[in-house]
Structure formats: C-alpha cells, structure tokens
Symmetry: C3
Subunit: 390 residues, 3 copies
C-alpha cells in the first residue's frame, strides 16, 4: 500500500537524520576528551571517517551486505540505503576514538575504507543482510540484535581491541607502571557530544524496527525509543551512584559514558521488553563502564575515551541480556552470534591493522605524540589564541 | 483509524526529539553563562536533571499526572509518555539555572526527584491530566495553556523564586550594595544553547496540539509552530532595540533571553492567534526581559541566567495574553489558573527547598563559591589546559 | 486528499526544522573561523540575521515572492510559509560571513532587511514564485534549480562580491602585497557548524521536492537526500586529496568547505541524477573550493570564511551541471538563469550596500578592526576568562 511505503520512507529519513547527528556527536565527544594538542586531528579524523566510510559503503560495502539496491524493503530503496549508510561510520568511530592521541590520519583512512567496504558489510551480510552463511553451521540468523549491540558496537569494539594490542598505549601513559591521569580538555564539548549521541540513538534503535506504518509497528517504534531512553537514564544514574560512592566526586565523563553504556546495552533488545526491564539492563550497563574503565587501564589497554567499556563490554552484555530477559531467544543463539562476529572481526581487523601499521606507521612516534598531532599532521591548532598551561 | 494513530505517534516522536534537543540546549546556555570555575558543575547538574527527573517521572510522576499508561490518547501510549516525559526536566532546568554558581549537586538531585515525582505532576494533573480538582472551587480546567506558559514555565519560575529567597545571592554579587558584574565565560556556547532551545520549542508547542492527522490538525500544528517562531523573532528584535537605545551596545545574552522570553510568552496561546498577534506578544515578552533583569538585581534576587524574567514573568504574561487576544477564554479563568498553580508550586517548593537546604546544605559555602564548584564538587575542571585571567 | 495534505505538511515542518539547524550551524562555523576578538560580533550578527530577515520576510518579502498566503500549495499554507522563511536568512548569512571582522552590526541589519524584503524575494518571484517576468524575454522559468544553487547560493554570493568590492579587505590582510595568514580561533566550533549545515541540507534539498505523499514523491525525496549527501562526501574527499597532495597537511577547514562546496553544487539538480553523477559534481565542487580560495586572495578579494568559493562559484557550477548531466534541461536556460539572477542581484546589492556604507559606515575603521569588534560593538568578550596569545 502506498501510504505505508511513504510513511516508512519518511520515518527512515527521520531516523537517518538523527543518526547523522551522531557524527558531530562523536566529533565533539572526542574533541572534548583528548588534550588540546590533538583536538584538530581528532576532528579531522571524524570528518574523514564520515566521508570515506559512507563513500566506500555506497561504492562497495552496500553491495557486499545487501547485494545492491534490489534488496527487498517496505520503503524507498534510497531511504533504506541512507538508513544503512548512516550506521557504517559509527563502527570506525568506535575504533578511532579508542586509539586517539597516537594514530595517524592516512593509515586510519585506509582502515576506514576496508572496514566500510568489507569487514562491517560482511558482519551485516550474515545478520541483517543476504546471509551467505544461511543453512551452514555458522549461520547466526537466530541471534536477535535489533540495532547492533553486536553488529555495530561489538564490531567496533573488537576492531578497537585489535588496534590497541598492535599499537600499544600512548607515550607516557603507563610510565614506571604508574597510570598518568590525562584530564579531558573541554567538558562542554564532551557533554554536547554525549547528548547528541543519546538523541541519535532514538533514530538508531527506533528506525531499526523497520516499519512504522501500522498500529502495531507504531507501538513497537515508540516502545523501542522509550526503552532506549530508559536504559540511557539508568546507565547515567548507576554510573553516577557508583562513582560517587567510590570517589565522593561527580565525574561527568563517567556519568555520560555510563549513559552510553546503557544505550549500547539496550540496543540488541529495545523492542522486546516491558518498560521496566531496560532500567535493569541500563543500570548494569552503566556499572560495567565504571568497573571496566579502570580494569582496562590495569591491564594497560590504553583507551582515552572508554570505548572498550562502552561498546565492546556492553555490546556483549546487551546481546546476552536478550536471552536473559526474553524467552523468545536462546542463550545459545545469542552467544553463537557474539562469537562468530567477534572472532571474524577481531582476526580480520588484527590482520588489516597489523599490515597497515607495518607499511604506513599507524602509530605516531613518541616525539610526534609529545609535540601533539595537530602540528605534525594538520599544521592547524585547535585554539591558537588561547594560552595553554601545558 | 490506523493512519491517524500512526501519524500522531510519529509526530509525537518527532516533537519529543526536538524537545530533547533542549537538554543540550539548556546545558550549553548555562555552561556559557556561568564562570569557568563552575562550568563542569552546571553541566553535571544538567545531565543529572535529565536522568533523575525522567526516571522519577517514569516511576512515579506519570502515574500522579495521568494515572498511568491507560490514559486515553489518539496515539501509541508509549509515544504519549515520551512526549510528556520530555517536558519534566525543563521545569527543574529553569530552577537550577537560576541558582547556578552557588548550589550543590546532591541536594539539587533530591529536589529534582521531588519536583518530577510530585510537584510538577500535580500541576499537570489539574490542567492537562486527570484533574482531581474537577468540579471543585479550585478547578482551573477553564484556563487555556497550550504548552505550558503556566504549567511549565511559571512552575519552574516559582520554584526558582522560592529557591533564591531561601538560598540568597552568590557570594560577592551585591557587596556593599553595589552590583558586581559577572560576565559570561563562553558566548558561543550561550548562542548554541539559545538556538537549540528555540528549535526545541517547535516540538514543545507544535507537539502540544496533540494531533496532526487531519487537514484541520495539520493547519493547527503549522500555525502553532509559525506563531511560536514569530514570537521568538519579535522578542529578539524588541530586546535588541531596547538594549541598544539604552546602552548603545548590542548585548547578545539579552537578545537571546529576549527571544526566549517571547517564546515563553507565546507558549500558552500559540494555537489561537492570527499570524500578527504573536509579534505583539513576543515583543512585549522581550521587553519584559530587558526590564525585569535589572529589576530583580535591584531587589537582590540573584539569578545568573535571567530565568525569573524569561520564565516566571513571561509565563504569567503569556497566560494573560490569551485572555487579551482571544475572546474564547476569560481573564478570570486565566488568572485563576496562574494563582492556583503559583500558590501551590511556590509554597510546596519553598517547604521542600527549605528542608533540603537545612539538612543537606543546598547552598555552597562562601569558600566553596570562591574556589569554584568544579574543584569542590566534581574534581574536574571544564578547560584545564586554558590559562585563565581570574 | 487529506492524508497527502497532512504528510506534506508534516514533511515540510520536518524539513524546515533541519534548515533552522543551519542557523546555529552558520553561527558556530563563523564563530570558529574568525579571531577571538570578533567572535561575539559574528554571533550577534547571526542572531540578528535570523530575526530581522525572517520578520521582514513575514511582513513584506513573502508577499513580494508569492503574493501572500493564498499561493497554491499541496500542504498547510503555514507550513509552506515556514519552509520558505527558513531559506531567507541563509542568503544574508552567505554575505555577512564573507565580510566578517570588518563590518558593523547596524548597517548589516539594514542590508538584511532590504535583502529579505525585496532582493531575495524578487529572485524567488521569477523562479519559484509568482513570476512577474512570465512570457517576457527575461523569463527564466526554464531553468531547473531545485533548491537554489542559483536562487540561494549565487544570490548570497553576488551580494557578497558587491560588498567586498565596496568594503575592501580587512586591515592588514594584504599588507605590502603579502598575504597575512589569520588562523581560525576555534576548530571544534568550525566542525560542529560544518556538520549542522550538512544535516540542514537534507531538509533544504529534500524539502524542496515539495511532496512526499506518493510512492514516486517518496522515492524522489529519498533520492534527493541521498544525492545531496553523496555530493558532500565527494566534495570533502576531493578537497582532502587535493590539499594533501599540495601541502602534505590535512586542512580541516578546507575539507569542510569542500564538503559545503559539493553540497552547494548538487543543490540545483539533486533530484535529477542517478546515484553516481553526484560523486562527480561534488568532487568538482570540492576542487573548485580548493582552487578558488587562493585565487580570490590573489586578486585581493578578502573573504575570511571562503564564502565566494563555496557559494558563488559552486552555485554557478551546480546550475550548469544540471545541463551537463541531465538532457531534460538546456545549457541556454540554465545560463540565462544564472545571468538574469546574477546581474539583478549584483547591481541591486551594489547600489544598496554602497548607499548604506556611505551613510552608516558599514566598514569598521582600522582602529576598530585592530581593537576587535567585540569591545567596540558589543562590549562583551567571547571568552573573557581565557588568556590570549595575541
């Protein structure tokens, strides 16, 4: 029916627009979290990722994931593409954020191209797309992952883990086995970025329901957005409470990361639960962030923005939570999905990043890191007129 | 009919999303208006308010206002909840903004919980909700208040007034009876915040029409948004003209507050007027801001962001303007509404804040204010790498 | 049919909202590109432009362009107005941005009023509106210009060119025939602004299709948004590649301007092409920006934000591209449109700006420029607590 087609198209465009708001969202969050001397580089990387990833997905990745524009959908095929395209850069953002302050732009661009053309599209192919594994022993189509706790967030997280293992920590971060605290340079930007991501999530999860054009679909979309938001609230509150009881201070970066952790955790099953379950899922998500951020520092996995805790840990948690809180999906199916995607993404990213790092030096040298990447890579300071303390 | 249900649900989600953009809007506005040493605290408070207020409304307040999820609506009940939930934090934002630079986070969180669970929901109950006063002498359902000049803005304003009366001015603000000028620390953030609020208002007022699914409703929604915007334009222009003629300078914070004043003033009746009346209502709104900001300083009500003038004065003005410019609603009904809500909110807030301040010290000590709340409360500076003049 | 009316109204409101996001978009972009001492002034100008231009369009300009609210449309007449009103400030933004750091606020406000009341509405009248030239030799209704490569972007660009010719360069910019490099003061704001503009463009071009309420229209809207985005991606990538090969550095301001150049270039024909043509149009758009920015400096047309290259050059390029890549429209019709609009806007703007500059001194004096306009015009510093290097 025409009206359904029109409504679904319009709703996909609306959702896509919210997701694209996450592009400045990630950019502001990361620009606020890194030191002043690396801000321009981080921003340049964010612009690069959106451009290169989206273009690669248009030219190659979309074909890999869905076999091209004839993939069946209940809306305009161009709107379906736009919605899918809006996701792809996020995967790379998760990885690039976690290796901030020590990675160079051009090698990152090559990695972006490969992720958006092949690695992420293959993950989509076997979950939401054509599914070339259908009927094989590795078929994971039984996993429920509404908007990508596994397909997006864990994928980005595994890529990041492999990158950190290859590249090592920032120069001086774990000197003499002591953690050097590096405070974020601009808290308003962190806050703005956090909220833009939060709002973008409404489009991410709401749009993933796939249709709004019937009473049932409209209810499903609204419930999904409500549950998404609730998990974000719960993640913020639980991170807030835990950090306060531990440190007697309010740590806004932890609170915002807690909210994001809750949002990642609800992403797999936001359409499944009654309105109270997301409080639990999100609160655990926020708690996981608070627990894992110091844990990753303990094992010297240096991640300036907390992306491993937010996206990898909570991507896994959210996918398992589907089996815990909904009896429609089995633990086996969910865990199999986590493993198949995880092993594929981790190994392929590891190989690709290893090769890129060998050939193009993904890791900036110690001197370059000391000087700051903005002068080395961009020749443009972020705030050239503000006197700095360091 | 199904299509109406779908369209109203979609439109409520769209409107809700715009209102949530006001969350970073308030955060950026306030972070720009306060001094650098209090910026992180203000941002933390904004994140706290959205999280605590929304969660309290989900768990308690919504039940108080509407009796739960069976409240009749022409859309998905989850979308109706989301739209209503988007409002609640705003009430506390109005209050918290006006006591910036001297209030502590934890006591504010308790107040937030009480406002979002009881005080605001009771105000909604007797206007847009179940109306437990129906048929009594205090029944104010005859008041027309489309999107909350009284229910939202005055409510926040009365709560703020009681807070200022209890907490007093910032240390040093009126030393030796002379007003100490405290300039805003970051004008781009003020501007960004002002515009995000303005855009959010389209969802606030447009969504409050309640339906878009017929020719008449669609016209009403579009006219409401148009009138909303027009009043904002007129408020900005009138504040601009008055400040210029008085001081021969362009004061962007006053111009933006003038726009917000116009927007508050049109909120009660944006659906009622022809397209020229909002020019008058908004222009008077902007003028009131310019007049009342120095007035409140004269009587030593210290309000760093001008919230009393923007939200309380213009909330009252906008509610009365309905009776002046529309013959469908009486002065009596409008003024009765203002009084019933005003007395209830002022007294209940006063009692609650008084008790909270006694037990938990809502007001930061003079030393804490001097040092700045960011180090005291958060241990995180907003811009640790920028050298400061003060 | 009612549902079509409702859907088109809703979609116009959605599109309008995205376009209004370009208001903070322009404000942040320009505030980031100018020096700290002129940031408050630039922001004040942006608030002024939105207020004065929109109000003038409501009171006068809309009548000039469309003959008032009875203009035929397939949606609520108020929504049609809102969508058209959202465009008008952009024309002045293009001009004001290019004469930043040397123009005074009050004379700019007079120019804003005249552009929004007469100059831009006349350009709209003869293209998308009543067309008082219909049937005459100057009739340019044969030109295809979907969302204003010519009507919006060239119009703003021609006005800017006349302003630069009259006002001259910033003091010290071309001292002793050497170009003085003036770095942008705040790169995060530039990035945020660039992305808000990009997102706003989806509403600009998508909304200009005019209807979404049938399968064909929904496809057209989605394809238009997809092509719009693709041209932005291509513009960013081509600017990135060219600047890198030339200077061995990544220049984020050039990359973002390249994206904007691609977006301007696709604006005339985003609805016409298959999904690969916009890659070419956008890539050329980005290249033109990289080539023309130094060119305009060579001929001493001082344009601090690159608006001539982004809007004028690419406005022309995009309008011609329609004839190159679509056989439905002739070179003659496209070029005639460019000329008629260009000559009208350039001459009328030149006369108006010349007179305004004579009477009110649009150009700030050398001393005022040295001191910075923020103290001279506003008495408000953008970042009063940050110590500055200059």
């Amino acid at each position: 029916m025409d009206m359904a087609y029109v409504l679904n198209t319009f709703f996909a465009i609306f959702s896509m627009t919210l997701i694209i708001l996450m592009v400045p969202g990630f950019a502001m969050l990361e620009a606020g979290l890194v030191r002043t001397k690396n801000v321009t580089t981080v921003l340049t990387v964010n612009v690069m990722i959106y451009s290169v990833a989206s273009m690669a997905f248009l030219l190659i990745g979309y074909q890999v994931a869905f076999g091209g524009f004839d993939f069946q959908s209940n809306m305009s095929k161009w709107a379906f593409f736009l919605f899918q395209m809006a996701f792809v850069g996020k995967v790379v953002n998760i990885m690039s954020g976690g290796v901030s302050e020590r990675s160079k732009i051009f090698p990152l661009a090559i990695f972006t191209f490969i992720v958006a053309s092949f690695i992420y599209p293959i993950a989509v192919n076997i979950t939401w797309g054509l599914n070339f594994l259908k009927g094989t022993a590795l078929d994971i189509s039984g996993m429920h992952d509404l908007a990508g706790s596994t397909v997006i967030h864990s994928t980005g997280g595994w890529a990041l883990l492999s990158a950190i293992l290859i590249m090592g920590a920032r120069k001086g971060r774990y000197k003499n086995n002591k953690l050097k605290i590096i405070p974020p340079s601009n808290i308003p930007l962190v806050t703005l970025g956090g909220f833009l991501l939060w709002i973008g999530w409404f489009g991410f999860n709401g749009g993933s329901v796939g249709s709004i054009a019937s009473k049932e679909s409209a209810d499903a979309v609204a419930l999904t957005i409500m549950n998404t938001n609730t998990a974000g609230l719960a993640g913020a509150i639980s991170a807030w409470a835990i950090t306060f009881f531990r440190y007697r201070k309010y740590d806004i970066t932890m609170i915002l990361n807690g909210a994001l952790g809750g949002l990642v955790a609800i992403t797999a099953g936001a359409d499944l639960f009654n309105i109270y379950i997301p409080i639990l899922i999100g609160a655990i998500g926020g708690a996981l962030v608070v627990l894992f951020v110091p844990f990753f520092d303990k094992i010297k996995l240096d991640d300036p923005v907390g992306a491993l805790s937010v996206h990898l840990v909570n991507g896994i948690w959210g996918t398992i939570a589907v089996a815990i809180f909904s009896d429609k999906f089995s633990f086996l199916a969910q865990i199999k999905g986590i493993f198949v995607i995880g092993i594929f993404v981790f190994i392929s990213s590891y190989v690709v990043i290893y090769v890129i790092n060998k050939i193009f030096n993904l890791r900036a040298t110690d001197d370059e890191q000391l000087e700051g990447l903005d002068t080395v890579e961009c020749g443009i300071e972020a705030y050239p007129e503000f006197r700095q303390t360091i």
